[in-house]
Subunit: 330 residues, 2 copies
């Protein structure tokens, strides 16, 4: 979240810190994006939440309309935030189209790839994330899909001088840091002056395990999620709520042919979620997708095997049957 | 630095995020304060640097005039930052007077006590810092005078709801965090969502060593700095540049009766600083005080003894004599 604030400050300064600045993000974007925008002083009413398409990706037409309307009304669009992928579903916004649009409009493109960016170490991920390399800034959390302990936020920018221009300060008290200063001073490239050496653990784990291990661990997560989706599609008890993207599958208990109302379904699935939480060795989370309560399986632990995933899905089916029976009896 | 941004965002929101907001800080304040103000969207030309008095403390008359002038010109003063103590000299701004003023004016008072705040564990420090408890927010860095490893930034606020109002978000994806939620969620009280458990090391070290050990370590730093000042005052080779405050003494080589110009003095003292850095087991830093190059001794390591301080001061005197001789010969 801190790196997002750093990115947005750099973007704001690169745009000349105009009055009536507006920022755009998908309605599936991480709430940290919205909070980062208000942290840097963009007014809440100037943060535009752009609707998503049927696949939970940013709707380009809606984005283009919003920017055009704002310009006509005297606002200054300064930043577009892309999700790659979205925190709820893993959906990846149309990065190439967004990059084309932002280039043409002269707007900073920030890609929030906190979770999904590390898919780029695999061939399939590279294909899915095509266009991300054109963003002005990319946020990554190695403590997510790069298997690092908390915390290790990371920010990549196209042009390091944009951070330097926004943050560099040279106080009298640090004049001595000129000794040994033939390397970048990260205190000049973000809001933190006193910083722990977070990069060390990332570098060391790559040295120790090698990139091949990271590649195969990420690829395994993508593969297990695809198998989980196939299981959900084949299961008469389960309904897929969003297509698998990266390592995330969203689904719910909703047996074919069962006439269960939305309210009862939410109750049943909440019960299932609680039982998985308390009774199973797996952690399934939940989210809301267009108002529907979804079970969210995010597979990224490198020790997870197909049997773990299968057993969890079978537990969901079993808990679902029991909850539906209890619901019918009540 | 991150906690300062959190504090200023809370202050800005508490003030209703007015247009043309202005922020006030002493010219001895840490540069992180200035950067935090611009990070949250206050324009650089709306950050007022208030001059300091002869003791490097904020000049209250100048502060009052600046606020009155700004109000008359249609600006909205939202935050006054106090230093306790200032990073260069350890000087403590007039906290009681600033608290009176801010209360009367309805302006948020932020105390930057990153380094000096921990003096409050001693009786003398409590006396020196009187009034700090009236601030709306206090920044503390336990990795400074509370002997913690990097990093451990800390923010105290008078009213936790001011942080909550500024930062609380409840995204769909974190709806499950309601389980086990009968404790504060720090993700709602600052910009970080994923946070490492920094407080653990602080708590553990207090449990292991006891507060008495912390008290005596801080008191020793204050005492050694006072003895260092006495040594500087008594030394014919050294000149005190600011009175000792907390653990900091600023001084320079400038022998009594020697007719050495300011430019030569700076050159001599830079040479002395470099020799201490490369040849001595001590780290003396430097700063600029009203344009004069100052050696800055900040005594806070709990293993430092008087012999270490004395030997360092004697080395400064010796290096100073040699540098002056070389300067005279050139």
């Amino acid at each position: 979240s801190v790196s997002t604030v750093d990115a947005l400050v750099a973007a704001r300064e690169a745009a000349g810190h105009p009055e009536r600045a507006t920022v755009y993000m998908g309605d599936q974007g991480h709430v940290a994006l919205r909070r980062a925008a208000t942290t840097i002083g963009v007014r809440p009413e100037c943060v535009r939440m752009i609707p998503s398409d049927g696949l939970f990706r940013m709707d380009m037409d809606a984005l283009e309309r919003a920017v055009a309307d704002d310009r006509a009304a005297g606002f200054h669009p300064i930043i577009v935030c892309a999700s790659a992928g979205a925190v709820g579903t893993g959906a990846i916004d149309p990065l190439e189209e967004m990059a084309d649009f932002c280039e043409a409009e002269g707007i900073w493109l920030h890609a929030d790839a906190a979770y999904g960016g590390f898919a780029a170490v695999t061939d399939e991920g590279k294909r899915l994330l095509a266009g991300i390399e054109r963003a002005d800034s990319i946020g990554l959390d190695p403590h997510k899909w790069f298997f690092q302990p908390y915390e290790a936020g990371c920010l990549l920018v196209k042009d390091a001088s944009t951070l330097q221009d926004a943050f560099a300060v040279r106080p009298d008290i640090l004049q001595d840091t000129i000794w040994g200063a033939n390397h970048p001073n990260f205190g000049d490239r973000g809001m933190q002056v006193s910083r722990s050496f977070r990069a060390l653990k990332v570098w060391m784990s790559v040295q120790v395990f090698g990139m091949a291990a990271f590649r195969s661990a990420v690829a395994k997560g993508i593969d297990l999620a695809a198998r989980a989706e196939a299981h959900v599609r084949a299961s008469p008890a389960l309904e897929l709520l969003s297509p698998t993207s990266l390592g995330i599958v969203c689904f719910r208990v909703n047996p074919e042919g069962a006439e269960v109302g939305e309210e009862a379904l939410e109750k049943v699935n909440r019960t299932v979620l609680a039982r998985v939480f308390w009774e199973e060795p797996a952690l399934v989370s939940s989210t809301l997708l267009r108002g529907r309560f979804a079970l969210r399986m995010c597979i990224l632990n490198h020790t997870t095997e197909w049997d773990d995933v299968r057993e969890t899905l079978e537990a969901v089916e079993r808990f679902g049957r029991e909850a539906l029976a209890a619901e019918a009896a009540s």
